[in-house]
Subunit: 320 residues, 3 copies
């Protein structure tokens, strides 16, 4: 694997899932693979799970890790070409990325969208430039439009826990929030689930209020519902997540009552397991009773972030 920015970078999803679950059984089996190899983790935004799970994944593979909080420890980055840099930005992404590529064998990058200009965010200009100029393999730690390490961990969790006959019904369910959040996690989850549906692993439905439809570039193939209760009917997994509008870009639109998942809502499901990428706002996005109850998979799912990251890094190291 030369880069890991979306599901499209994965040649064999089955192999990646098997690798992740095998690493969970034997975390240190490949510890010589990363000897004298360095992972640089570059953060332009806060991170807890991604930072720690990716760092631990690299350590399990014998790599060294250098963490760079670009926004706090480094220099303000310019991303546009052709500008005279006489403003507040101190270093151009061309130099910054190229230099980090000189010291690291693999780079990880987290950069959230600004949610102001849809075209700019969805161009993934910053991420693409970082990859192009760094000249080393890059793993996304969440970009403007995707969070593939999260989605891989989500799919690992479903594969690992599903014990029913046939294919599970997976529902991505929009949830309320007070802030405008990126579409990165739901976009990414949608494209991974659509891919898994193509591979006959599951059935996938997205439920959201009017105006919150994701871009079809990510949701194509999913069943779309505007009725949460109908979507939840017979569900085996519910992936709860808020996102801001893609159509009316970055906005928090009015929405009807009844979009927070509660125990009562779960009654129509097939004893569904409840997932969330975390951090989660209790009793706003998801009721505390569900989070603390037997249906919740959120901590187990967060634990699988480690094995997802380790599987990706392993496959990258094997190609170095």
């Amino acid at each position: 694997m030369n880069q890991f920015t979306s599901v499209h970078d994965v040649q064999d999803i089955g192999k990646l899932l098997r690798d992740a679950l095998a690493l969970k059984e034997n975390p240190y089996a490949h510890k010589s693979l990363g000897e004298n190899k360095t992972l640089g983790l570059v953060f332009l935004n806060p991170s807890l799970r991604t930072r720690l799970s990716t760092q631990k994944a690299a350590l399990n593979l014998g790599m060294s890790v250098m963490v760079m909080n670009m926004d706090k420890e480094g220099w303000a980055l310019e991303t546009q070409d052709g500008v005279v840099m006489n403003g507040t930005t101190v270093e151009h992404i061309r130099e910054a990325a190229a230099v980090m590529g000189q010291y690291c064998d693999i780079l990880g990058l987290r950069s959230f969208p600004k949610l102001a200009d849809r075209e700019e965010d969805y161009s993934e200009d910053f991420f693409n430039k970082f990859i192009a100029y760094s000249k080393v393999p890059v793993v996304s730690l969440e970009s403007a439009t995707r969070h593939p390490l999260q989605s891989l961990a989500d799919l690992v969790t479903i594969k690992e826990t599903w014990q029913g006959a046939g294919k599970p019904k997976v529902v991505l369910a929009w949830a309320p929030h007070i802030k405008a959040l990126p579409q990165a996690v739901p976009n990414s989850f949608a494209e991974w689930m659509c891919k898994a549906q193509e591979l006959d692993m599951l059935d996938f439905t997205i439920a959201q209020p009017e105006g919150y439809e994701l871009s079809e570039d990510f949701s194509k193939g999913a069943a779309i519902s505007y009725d949460l209760d109908a979507a939840l009917s017979g569900a085996d997994y519910i992936y709860v997540k808020n996102w801001s509008s893609y159509k009316d870009y970055g906005k928090v639109l009015p929405y009807p009552e009844g979009w927070m998942l509660t125990n009562e809502k779960l009654t129509v499901t097939n004893d569904a397991r409840v997932m969330h990428c975390l951090p989660v706002r209790r009793d706003l996005e998801l009721s505390a009773e569900v989070l603390d109850g037997p249906s919740s998979l959120v901590i187990h799912e967060a634990g699988n972030r480690l094995w997802a990251a380790q599987a990706v890094l392993k496959q990258m190291l094997e190609k170095l």
Copy 2:
């Protein structure tokens, strides 16, 4: 050892002291003990000695270390149960602690008190929840009411340096400051010294102005004095420290002149050695002449933070 939050977590203080001094002689003797084990250090407040000494202690034991500045790199934490999270906090301690426990074998946590509500601070609610939800051994890097790694290093220092006949007289001496500081260090020192006094290792006195009495939960067993000169008479060790009032909680109360330790004050002692946990404000808490003079143990004592932390981590690793 399953957790290290106070002297009450230690079954055999003599063994812990011997371990610390043995590790000082042979720092790398147990380097295989921490192989493939990860220590997560979670900071909600600044740290110099604790951060570096604990990190180095873990490295000496062969562990990997991941440092998380929760206040700067992560998400604002909610600690109260039953609240709708529609405010400024982004993640609940229930999830955050549980997730960190997924990636780390041992966690360290630093969280200062707010000094606004005594009952809240002294409940150690945040710390207790962190331990309960993380489900891994937790070592305190200083909590609202205690700093046990500091106190252990202090006792190690006394044991290591005492060469007199009989038991040394140890005095905890309140000192002036311009800010309201927590009682964590003096509370913790007091309960460790009271325990050592029970074990017949030393005699312990606390000297402070009226209104600055510590909680009896920590000071029970100590001789209490309101006269610094009387307390210092015949002292072998003086532990200088400021703290805010426990009774008039978190307040800086007026105090009489003469509470800063100077060379002149030392004349009534038994050539006492002077200790302080650092950071220290020169010529406010403690005179520069004492700090730079032959009585000062402060750097030696800070150096012993390493062996205290390493002894604790060693005993935790042995129980994993």
Copy 3:
């Protein structure tokens, strides 16, 4: 090597250059040298290249690294002696440096000048105190007046890439900027190039507008020019860098047009290679066409920061 703060700390420059280039060929040849040795990197200012290259250099030598962002993670430091610390500073450099020396075998320190008081900055008081009190070998990660790891990497780059007959002509060329920058990089480059000129390795010229002359303590021996085109004539290496005035200390003085390096300016050179320490402001200090063109050595030069740092750390470790 007991400290590395300037070219004067280096006994044998030829040996240091050879070590750097040998390490570039065999990065892990001395991995046992740093076993159980810890490097502490202390930052009072932002850093990208220095942080990552020095960290990686230490890892290549088998050392452990602890990074301390003193301004963000630690305590505000007092540097003056004889002051009553009743203000905003929390810890004195005497204690802070001594304590860090307890936990680390080698320390690195970055501390920029304030550019307010020339005498204070050029006394290197903070740096000298840090070294004196830490009592361990200290490597400068850039001080108020010098950046020797950068200058060593620059000389490595010239030695490595020069393939002409005889000695190359090296020109340090002042460039425009909108902010007042320290003289540390040009001071340091100048004293290293003057030393190399003494050793008959190259010819060295400094070109700057009136008022921007560096201190003769650093530039003595260099040819001085106020005419950029004349200085560039026949140049083999051009080192582009802005700095604020030394004479009118810390000020941005008016300067004539024509001090930004462009492809047109390069026509009078001997196909000169262009260097810059980075970060660089495009089309302000240096034209984008030069930076992105075949003359630019800036990324290669940044890559050599690793081998410069590793050579210095190697020689320090050999003396421990």
